[in-house]
């Protein structure tokens, strides 16, 4: 069977159905048995203008990154698509509207800017949409129909995906979308003289078990519900809003409560309050909101109250770039706030691990009575994958509070010094379990205590929990070069890990001895594993999506050796192609 590995981009203006078309394409390809990874970029403004791009990678093999350049660009909007041409491969395929309603003014046509080598297929998108549905709005479906014909995709399967997408809409909506698709399909089949070599003809993917087509935000919400979340407080912010949106519908049905607060300070305050009350609670935010929460994060650590914050990173600082991806909250997540403030930080490395990270976060927060931050980013939050349905968390992960024994309640010390640093926690209302709780430094009973010895003892207690957390941390993902020492070891984190892994696989095919390392657990960090890995690599490369190399700086202190950095702040996800190029240079 021939391999399929194709990136299709649809570029249009907000409100032109660009994202919907991308979603339908992804769902159709998933239903056909292909691996998909899709990622949309859109303007920060709500609607009506601005450039939207639906980026979908389709592969018959496992996918680890979205692919830097597109093989196919469907231009629904010429002006926006001109700037997207730089993301089209040299020998890519452009689908453009050959009969726009009005002639383009000079330099406003996408075809006017294509480089030689690009194959251009002109499809009368507007005219066919008008004919099919009486409106130009169906241009997105005409475009899908055209590529379905040109690349010999399953027409009936595609039609079914469109019908499914609009199943809850009126019949006229379904019909106009399907008819537009069919117009594009028939027209392209009849008029396009195919000169590219790409085809799905004769490719049949093996039947697969049912897949979830889902993005990181949806998985976080699903995981939270499965992990017994009972309280969510939040203030909407891109790119985390979707989590709150889903939970607002689902959480009440799971016996929980959702509270939309006036700001992020109130949200984290409510979460800490709920955690104090003994139920699992979390909030989701992005950089600006996370910055506001720092005072309460300190309280969570000091008062040893479980709290979970999902921080989906975007371009920063401040309001920054709301709809672009970045990994620049690493320092803030690990060290933001005041004082010696040990907290757990997890960073999922792909869509699937968003589920694991959320379940683990709620568990660790409850068991270790502390703050847990989960670092997503715009890409992880929004990129859509087709994944196996995750197994629900085991019972042991759902009830993690270590409650005091009856005898311990006789002289209850809420902050009792223990070997693990975990003090048995009485939920308010527990008979005999009355205690003080404050943001002030305190003694074992919770009473304010500012002595140097007391402060040291309690600080050590809070840090002691790290050892326990590490024993429960997911094992780092290490792909070692077998046999000899690797020439290059790539250390990555978060959403860049997939691209790093793919780059290492590609590098090996080129004969480069390469290994990769990534850890979902960032704090506490599996330092020994990283040192062992580093010792087996001649050179180390750290790719990440921030300017200052925040993780690289962190890693340098652990491995105590110089390393190469690869930093981007383009707003786009990390590309395996860029890492590979850097590896070739090293």
């Amino acid at each position: 069977m021939k391999d399929i590995n194709l990136v299709i981009e649809i570029c249009g203006s907000a409100g032109e159905g660009t994202i919907s078309a991308g979603e339908i394409l992804s769902r159709f390809m998933s239903a056909q048995g292909y691996e998909i990874m899709s990622f949309d970029s859109y303007p920060a403004e709500i609607r009506g203008f601005g450039k939207c791009v639906a980026h979908t990678r389709i592969s018959s093999d496992p996918i680890y990154s979205p692919g830097k350049l597109a093989d196919v660009l469907i231009a629904l909007n010429d002006i926006h698509s001109i700037s997207q041409l730089s993301a089209l491969k040299n020998k890519g395929i452009l689908i453009y509207d050959s009969q726009p309603a009005r002639p383009h003014e000079e330099d406003k046509s996408v075809l006017g800017w294509v480089d030689p080598g690009v194959i251009s297929y002109g499809i009368p998108l507007t005219m066919l949409a008008q004919r099919a549905a009486g409106s130009a709005r169906g241009r997105n479906m005409v475009g899908l129909g055209a590529i379905a014909a040109i690349f010999h995709m399953d027409k009936d399967g595609f039609t079914a995906s469109i019908e499914n997408r609009y199943a809850k809409k009126k019949k006229i909506v379904i019909d106009s979308n399907v008819n537009s698709f069919l117009e594009g399909f028939e027209w392209a089949g009849k008029h396009i003289e195919k000169i590219d070599s790409f085809s799905f003809e004769g490719v049949t993917m093996p039947l697969q078990k049912e897949k979830l087509i889902i993005n990181g935000n949806q998985l976080v919400a699903r995981a939270a519900l499965d992990a017994n979340l009972k309280f969510y407080a939040g203030y909407p912010i891109t790119p985390a809003t979707k989590i709150m949106e889903i939970l607002s519908k689902e959480l009440p049905g799971h016996g929980g409560t959702l509270l939309q607060t006036e700001d992020e300070i109130a949200a984290i305050g409510a979460v800490v309050g709920a955690g104090f009350g003994g139920i699992r609670a979390m909030t989701a935010t992005s950089g600006p909101g996370f910055a506001l929460m720092t005072e309460f994060t300190g309280l969570s650590v000091m008062a040893e109250v479980p709290a979970v914050i999902i921080n989906s990173q975007r371009g920063g600082p401040s309001t920054g770039i709301p709809t672009k991806t970045e990994q620049s909250d690493f320092n803030a997540a690990l060290s933001g706030g005041t004082g010696d403030c040990p907290r757990v930080v997890l960073a999922p490395t792909d869509t699937f691990s968003c589920y694991q990270a959320t379940v683990l976060a709620l568990y660790l927060a409850e068991k270790y009575q502390t703050l847990v931050v989960v670092l997503l980013d715009f890409f992880l939050s929004n990129s859509i994958r087709n994944i196996d349905i995750p197994e629900k968390p085991s019972e042991s992960l759902l009830n993690a509070n270590i409650a005091p024994l009856p005898e311990e309640l006789e002289n209850y010390q809420r902050y009792k010094i223990t070997e693990t640093g975990i003090s048995p926690r009485a939920i308010p209302g527990t008979p005999g379990g009355i205690f003080f709780s404050t943001g002030l430094e305190h003694d074992e009973y919770g009473r304010p205590n500012y002595s140097d010895k007391g402060h040291l003892k309690m600080t050590e207690k809070r840090y002691k929990k790290y050892a326990g957390v590490l024993t429960e941390a997911p094992i780092p993902q290490i792909s070692e070069f077998e046999g000899e020492m690797a020439d290059i070891g790539v250390i990555s984190w978060g959403s860049s890990a997939g691209a790093a892994r793919e780059a290492v696989m590609l590098a090996r095919k080129e004969g480069i001895k390469a290994s990769s390392f990534s850890s979902m657990m960032l704090s506490p960090f599996p330092e020994k594993e990283l040192i062992d890995f580093s010792d087996k690599c001649k050179k180390i490369l750290v790719p990440e999506l921030n300017y200052g190399g925040q993780f690289a700086n962190f890693a340098t202190h652990i491995i105590k050796r110089p390393l190469e950095r690869l930093n981007f702040i383009t707003g786009r996800p990390m590309a395996s192609e860029d890492i590979l190029e850097k590896m070739r240079e090293m």
């Binding site: 453009y96 050959s98 009969q99 726009p100 009005r102 002639p103 383009h104 003014e105 000079e106 406003k108 046509s109 075809l111 006017g112 294509v114 480089d115 030689p116 080598g117 251009s120 002109g122």
Partner: protein, 345 residues
């Protein structure tokens, strides 16, 4: 004073490119755009036959690479077809529905293979060597094929026959005396050519014509009017070139075979010039218009056009090779002198 002219050049051959380069050298501020329907940077067309044999690689054909255009700040629009021009509004309309505004227009759209009216029904079966894309399409096929049927002649055709001979291919040529259109071979010239080609092993048919061409099982059955039948792998037509000027029809430009220009390469409409093989240039000696062929002529015409666009009054002169060796016959092909006098040497 900076110039804000927008020079739009239709055609990416030697005439158009030379005009563009000269304009850029002498007008740093102007906007310059080259539009070509071919999807390849400026390449050396006479090298196509050597490209087929493998003596030249695709990259060696390229005369001017894309970065050079960027460096010169010349906007290169490749693979874009001109539908029509509107001299009143000074707009070039592109087929993909884009308007390009010019202040001065240079038409250097070149020429394409002439298909005889009687052969239009067989156009699908005929191959030509006029563009890179055509050649790219059947380059491998030529390597694999053994039997070739060629009708017509012309300079490129004879070059091709020579090349096939070197490759050990079997060639049948149905010679047309008027294959050099608009030049016509005399009987004496034709006899010399036939004799020389036969000595090289080619089969030559004279005084006959194509009756039918039938495509059958990856081969072609060619039947002549006099009843000869030949089964061959490929059929080529070499019957001269005709200027590519369809887009200019109806624009008000004076057009005969090509676009008529005066000795300074200017058309009958203001701010529109034409040069290269798409133009018919006024020759005061014979008081008529003639078409030129050949790379060197096109280069000079492009440069003269640019000079005149910049305000000069340069009159075109003949350059380049005046004579082509054609199987032992020297043929004068330059347009600038009396055709009848120079038709046999």
């Amino acid at each position: 004073m900076p110039s804000y002219d927008h020079y739009v050049i239709l055609g990416n051959g030697p005439a158009g490119n030379n005009a563009a380069s000269f304009l850029r050298e002498n007008d740093k501020d102007a906007k310059i755009t080259i539009i070509s329907d071919e999807n390849i940077p400026f390449y050396y067309k006479p090298g196509l036959t050597r490209y087929i044999t493998g003596d030249l690689s695709a990259s060696e054909l390229i005369v001017e690479s894309l970065p050079n255009y960027r460096e010169k700040n010349i906007r290169l629009r490749l693979g874009q077809i001109v539908d029509k021009i509107d001299p009143e509004q000074k707009i070039v309309f592109l087929r993909h529905k884009e308007k390009v505004h010019y202040t001065k227009l240079v038409i250097a759209s070149g020429s394409r293979a002439r298909v005889l009216p009687s052969m239009r029904g067989y156009a699908q079966c005929l191959k030509h060597i006029t563009t890179y894309n055509e050649v790219l399409e059947f380059k491998d096929q030529i390597q694999a094929a053994n039997d070739f049927f060629i009708f017509g002649g012309d300079l490129v055709g004879f070059k091709f026959i020579k090349m096939l001979g070197k490759m050990g291919k079997k060639v049948t040529l149905l010679i047309y005396p008027n294959a050099f259109w608009p030049f016509i071979l005399t009987h004496e010239m034709q006899a010399t050519i036939v004799s020389n080609l036969e000595k090289r092993g080619s089969e030559i048919i004279v005084g006959d014509d194509i009756h039918t061409i039938i495509e059958k099982e990856n081969a072609y059955m060619v039947k002549t009017v006099k009843g000869m039948e030949k089964k061959v792998d490929m059929v080529f037509s070499f019957n001269g070139l005709i200027p590519t000027v369809e887009f200019a029809k109806g624009s008000g430009l004076d057009i005969d075979h090509g676009i008529l220009v005066n000795e300074t390469m200017q058309t009958n409409l203001p701010d529109i010039y034409a040069c290269g093989s798409c133009a018919q240039i006024y020759n005061p000696v014979i008081n008529s218009y003639t078409t030129s062929i050949g790379w060197p002529n096109a280069v000079v015409q492009g440069e003269v056009t640019a000079m005149n666009l910049l305000g000069d009054h340069k009159v075109i002169e003949s350059v380049g090779r005046k004579y082509f060796d054609l199987e032992g016959v020297r043929i004068k092909t330059t347009w600038w002198e009396d055709i009848e006098e120079s038709s046999s040497i």
